[in-house]
């Protein structure tokens, strides 16, 4: 269970980190060269950038808290072992919601939010839903 969950969290984290990096680089390039066409003139990109940064910041704080709780754990002499692995849990935080924002900007900017693409986006969301369901089942059952 831990393996699949960890893989999924790392995948989402890397996607969000990549989004922050690529948009941040584009904004920095525009600032350094005084570009005429700036990526941060687009409101959707701005919202993805700020949301992703907030998400990564809170994920970092959660990770720090988890790490602190692990290294501060003490077991008294003669006491029982820890029954629950709760101190090792890394929470999803708002990674899922940020992933939704990223998917939304893809829909808005590539497909223009056009209703004629509704069938495409519906099918795509279905496939994504099936993938997530399979991941959840896989995480629940554990890997063979």
């Amino acid at each position: 269970m831990a393996n699949s969950t960890t893989t999924m969290i790392i995948s989402l984290t890397m996607i969000i980190l990549f989004s922050v990096a690529i948009i941040g680089f584009s904004i920095g390039f525009a600032n350094d060269n005084d570009a005429s066409v700036r990526i941060d003139d687009n409101s959707n990109i701005n919202s993805v950038y700020s949301d992703s940064k907030n998400s990564i910041d809170s994920f970092k704080n959660d990770s720090d808290d988890t790490y602190s709780s692990i290294i501060n754990t003490t077991i008294e002499s003669g006491s029982d072992v820890i029954k629950s692995p709760a101190v090792f849990t890394l929470t999803w935080g708002n990674l899922f919601s940020t992933f939704g924002v990223i998917l939304n900007v893809i829909y808005q900017e590539i497909f223009g939010g056009n209703p004629t693409f509704a069938i495409f986006i519906t099918s795509f969301i279905t496939i994504i839903g099936i993938m997530f369901t399979l991941y959840i089942i896989k995480a629940w059952r554990g890997n063979p």
């Binding site: 995948s11 890397m14 990549f18 005084d34 005429s36 700036r38 998917l103």
Partner: protein
Amino acid sequence: MIFMDYLYSLPNSTEGIDAIVLQMTSGSFYWLVPMILFFTFIVVFVGGITRQKVRTGTSDYSAWAILASMATLLPALLFSVTAGFIRLDWLVIVVVLNIASAIWFFLDRKITEV
């Protein structure tokens, strides 16, 4: 002497070839920059997966997609410095293409590869 009427206005060539290109892209041939970006993406993506398949027998499609989209972003950012080359929505599409490729790439990795 016979004077011919041109069907289009000749570009002003006294300011160098970059001014001619800029005049073309902002005027009659505004598809030049998107075609260059599309060409860059297709060359890296199709060329990469084809050569990798020839050499190793398999191709990593998602890795070549993210590589091709990053290779497309570099000329797109260079075009964004001067006004008239690239429109904002084209630049946004290139950035969003990068993010979409990243989603494909990072969700495509096997459990032992992350």
